[in-house]
């Protein structure tokens, strides 16, 4: 596996409320966990929410996902646990009320990719030079795009594009999107927060990937693109190449 992650505060914000994780779990079938989260809520709360959501998901998987077979169930439960944790902390801690976060998390093992998703961060799959979006935005604008009322470019400029219909940690119980995809050698997974997708269109992401010889620099390259266009939000990009051989040594 070849992967890169870049997370940048952007050009406008003062703090980075995005959080990410890319690690191999040592339990069960030893899947790789990839996650990005975009926190919301003023004064540190956004940072706390995104971090809490990702770390709680990871912690839950590390402690409980020993069985390994049922990746979908494991990831769904982990996200539910993370939701409850963020919700509790928001409720119990002065100043954190109302905080929440997006969470797009994937578990990859062999040829399976299980994806959990809440909010407007995104996951894409690039296979044989073609881009496929794996997640639907849980936002007002996202719903409009899905209904065909808006195009992607228009959505990127829509003033209400930040209004989420669903976020992790804002309700005690949450319906999380869970999906499983078959992956194979050579596939590339891209996960990112809206700091990228509001400024860089999906076909541009694909172009960057197709024109890129080294995945290791891709994260930074995409972040630079977003920053060059104003960087009005935090930008986090996680790119992972699916493959058995590591370190570019594979045959």
């Amino acid at each position: 596996m070849l992967a890169s992650v870049a997370s940048d505060v952007g050009r406008v914000r003062e703090a980075n409320e995005d959080y990410y994780c890319l690690c191999q779990l040592m339990t069960g079938c030893r899947p790789v966990l990839m996650a990005v989260a975009d926190g919301m809520g003023g004064f540190e709360a956004g940072e706390v929410a995104s971090r809490l959501a990702v770390e709680e998901t990871r912690r839950w998987l590390e402690v409980h996902a020993g069985g390994g077979e049922d990746l979908q169930c494991a990831l769904a439960t982990a996200c539910a646990a993370a939701n409850e944790r963020v919700y509790r902390v928001a409720l119990d801690t002065f100043g954190y009320s109302g905080m929440g976060t997006t969470l797009t998390a994937a578990l990859w093992a062999a040829d399976r990719l299980v994806l959990a998703h809440v909010g407007d961060s995104r996951a894409y799959l690039v296979r044989k030079g073609r881009l496929q979006r794996l997640t639907a935005d849980h936002s007002v604008v996202g719903a409009m795009v899905q209904n065909g009322e808006l195009g992607e470019r228009e959505a990127m400029r829509h003033p209400q594009r930040n209004l989420l219909t669903k976020a992790l940690g804002t309700e005690p119980r949450l319906n999380i999107d869970i999906a499983e995809h078959a992956v194979c050698d050579g596939d590339i997974i891209v996960m990112c927060t809206d700091g990228l997708t509001n400024l860089v269109a999906s076909e541009e992401i694909l172009e960057a990937i197709n024109g890129c010889r080294d995945l290791a620099g891709l994260g930074d390259q995409l972040v630079e693109m977003a920053n060059a266009r104003g960087g009005n939000d935090n930008i986090t990009v996680l790119v992972a190449g699916i493959g058995r051989a590591g370190g570019g040594d594979g045959v």
Binding site: M1, L2, L22, C23, Q24, M26, R244, G247, G250, V251
Partner: protein
């Protein structure tokens, strides 16, 4: 001694060998009229009565053994001072000579020899005879690859006294079991250990332990770990490696329980190694397709040839085949020219026959089944294929995380396919685990270490946390594998993560009774910080510390703030009044508010009460003030809610 007749019966013909203890002669038994071997004890032993008695007893016991893998003892006797043993004469050489040819023996040959030694040992052990001196010098290989073990029990006759001046001990100590080296009780399992050493030597061409003196070697047998034979010779299969290591266990309990046990295991390994070759013999008559009689005739010798080949190099079997080929043309040449016409006709027909034969031969190259060589070491696969008349061709190498390096991963054609003899089998050979380069993790945090490791095909292993004076909290101090190292993918890299500089604990001294200014100056030196400083009336002299927080003797972290109160002189009895305050209710917002009471009197301003309350709650406090009048200000949140002048009640 040549020409001498021992016991009036055994005529010594020639010296054929000798050890530290005896000389061996080829002799002729004049009574039974057969060739025998006679072992004559060296004269220095012939004077040791004690030794002679034991020597004879052991030889007689050994004579009771009758087994195809044990050199038979025919007679034990003496002719005057010449003591001798008469034995079966073996036409062959010792295993020592075979090993000294150089190169390690092929695995199959080594296992076959060990198997036969085991058979001999099993028989002896069942008859309660322990060999005690198993070594290649005592193992004979006959011309037809039969193993014969000799000198059963003789070692026992030797005492430590006799051993010292023989020199044989130097050779034997290499094969000594730890218990023998220690001088402890020896038993059947000691023989199995020695056999393990012999097998080790056959497989690797070297001895498990080397040393300058017998003592060093003996000590090594007792204490040092054996280098697994497979690490010296990659063609040794894992099972065989395990077998040898088990025989070489220092603890007798860990070794094979018996020679039979070990024999069974060797047999299993042998079957595994031979499996491809054995499978070749079975499908020899390939169905009803008629083969020319010439070839059918040849198949029986081929079966024996396959057997012979497993024991020695493939070479010796080949010449017979070539001789066969040679004979035919010779026979044809015998056709004598009677008449010219006849000759021409004959030549023509011969040519035609030869041509027809050639075409026929070309069309009928024997087909054979491709053996399964996947999972074998490449060298072994090469052998197996060559033995079958196929050639191995290494067409590719590939990293593989399942198959270790040098093992065959894939083959084309697949096993079981029928192909012509001589065809090449393409092999894909493993390069082992794909290698990954360990990235530099120092200074990065745990999360980014994960990213870097995954990108390199590795993963994060154990994390230990520790204090570090320079490296900031959360950053990695060091990693278990240095950056730049090439390791197999999936390797776990352990890291040590800094907890930052160690937080040291300070015991807070008692500042009470000291001047506040002096105390404040001392705080920095004590690694404590200045906190809030308050004044209060007290009986203490002016400027003296009256109270402190944390209290004296408390253990606190470095840098903790210390709050101090100091005296502003003696007290005059204060005026006092009880004040009630109803916390106002906010119409829109039912949240808690901070209520603060501030008293302005002759002592200055001081917060006398601070608390969080819900609207509607009542706060009652007795307020004490100095001087005639005081002002009480009550704040709710940031707003001053009320102010009242306090005067003493009459």
């Amino acid at each position: 001694m040549i020409g001498q007749k021992l016991g009036g019966r055994y005529e010594l013909v020639a010296k054929i060998g000798g050890g530290g203890m005896a000389l061996v002669y080829r002799a002729h038994d004049n009574v039974l009229n057969r060739p025998v071997a006679v072992k004559v004890l060296r004269p220095q032993f012939a004077t040791d009565e004690d030794f002679l008695r034991r020597f004879r007893r052991e030889a007689q016991a050994a004579a009771s053994l009758s087994h195809q893998n044990i050199v038979s003892i025919y007679d034990v006797g003496n002719d005057g001072d010449t003591h001798y043993i008469v034995m079966e004469l073996i036409d062959g050489r010792t295993l020592k000579e075979r090993i000294q040819e150089g190169k390690p023996l092929p695995v199959v040959e080594a296992l076959d020899i060990a198997y036969q030694i085991c058979e001999a040992l099993e028989h002896a052990h069942q008859n309660r005879i322990i060999h005690r001196d198993i070594k290649p010098h005592n193992i004979m290989l006959t011309r037809n690859s039969k193993v014969k073990v000799t000198d059963f029990g003789i070692a026992r006759a030797m005492t430590s006294a006799t051993l010292t001046h023989t020199g044989t001990i130097i050779g034997s100590v290499h094969y000594f079991s730890p218990e023998q080296a220690r001088g402890g009780l020896t038993g059947a399992k000691s023989d199995l250990y020695s056999l393990g050493v012999v097998l080790y030597e056959m497989l690797t061409g070297t001895l498990p332990f080397q040393g300058e003196s017998a003592v060093t070697i003996a000590l090594k047998h007792m204490h040092e770990r054996v280098v697994p034979p497979r690490s010296l010779n990659l063609t040794i299969p894992l099972d065989v490696d395990r077998l040898v290591m088990r025989a070489l266990e220092k603890n007798q309990l860990e070794r094979y329980a018996s020679a039979g046990d070990m024999m069974a295991d060797i047999g299993r390994c042998l079957a595994k190694v031979r499996a491809p070759a054995g499978a070749q013999i079975a499908p020899d008559p390939p169905g009803p397709s008629p083969l020319p009689p010439r070839r059918v005739e040849k198949s029986p010798p081929r079966a024996t040839e396959a057997r012979a080949r497993t024991r020695s190099e493939p070479a010796p079997a080949r010449p017979t085949e070539d001789e066969d080929e040679e004979e035919l043309p010779v026979a044809r040449r015998k056709t004598r020219p009677w008449v010219a016409v006849l000759l021409v006709l004959l030549v023509l027909s011969a040519l035609g026959a030869a041509g027809a034969y050639l075409v026929w031969d070309w069309l009928n190259v024997p087909t054979l089944e491709v053996p399964d060589v996947t999972g074998m070491v490449y060298l072994q696969a090469q052998h197996v294929l060559r033995d079958r008349g196929l050639t191995a061709e290494q067409v590719a190498n590939r990293y593989d995380d399942q198959v270790p390096a040098n093992y065959v991963i894939e083959q084309i054609p697949e096993p079981g396919t029928l192909v012509r003899k001589g065809r090449s089998v393409k092999l894909v050979v493993s390069l082992g685990l794909p290698l990954a380069v360990v990235p530099d993790l120092r200074g990065v945090n745990e999360r980014d270490a994960n990213v870097r490791l995954i990108s390199s095909g590795l993963a994060l292993g154990n994390i230990t946390y520790e204090y570090h004076p320079e490296i900031p909290e959360g950053a990695i101090i060091s990693q278990s594998l240095p950056s730049g190292t090439r390791v197999g993918t999936g390797t776990l890299v352990d890291v040590r993560v800094s907890l930052g500089p160690e937080a040291r604990v300070v015991v807070v001294p008692d500042f009470r009774g000291q001047q506040v200014n002096e105390v404040l100056q001392r705080l920095a030196g004590l690694h404590l910080q200045e906190g809030e400083v308050h004044q209060e009336y007290s009986d203490q002299p002016l400027g003296v510390v009256t109270r402190q927080l944390p209290e004296p003797g408390d253990e606190v972290l470095e840098g903790t703030e210390v709050e101090l109160w100091y005296s502003k002189g003696p007290v005059t009895p204060p005026n006092q009044k009880t004040i009630r305050f109803l916390v106002p209710t906010d119409r829109d917002n039912d949240t808690a508010v901070v209520v603060e009471w501030i008293l302005y009197d002759t002592a200055g301003a001081s917060v006398i009460y601070k608390g969080v309350h819900m609207g509607g709650q009542e706060v009652t406090r007795t307020v004490r003030w100095y001087g005639a009048q005081a002002l009480l200000q009550i704040k709710v949140g940031d707003r001053v809610w009320s102010e009242q002048i306090l005067t003493p009640t009459p």
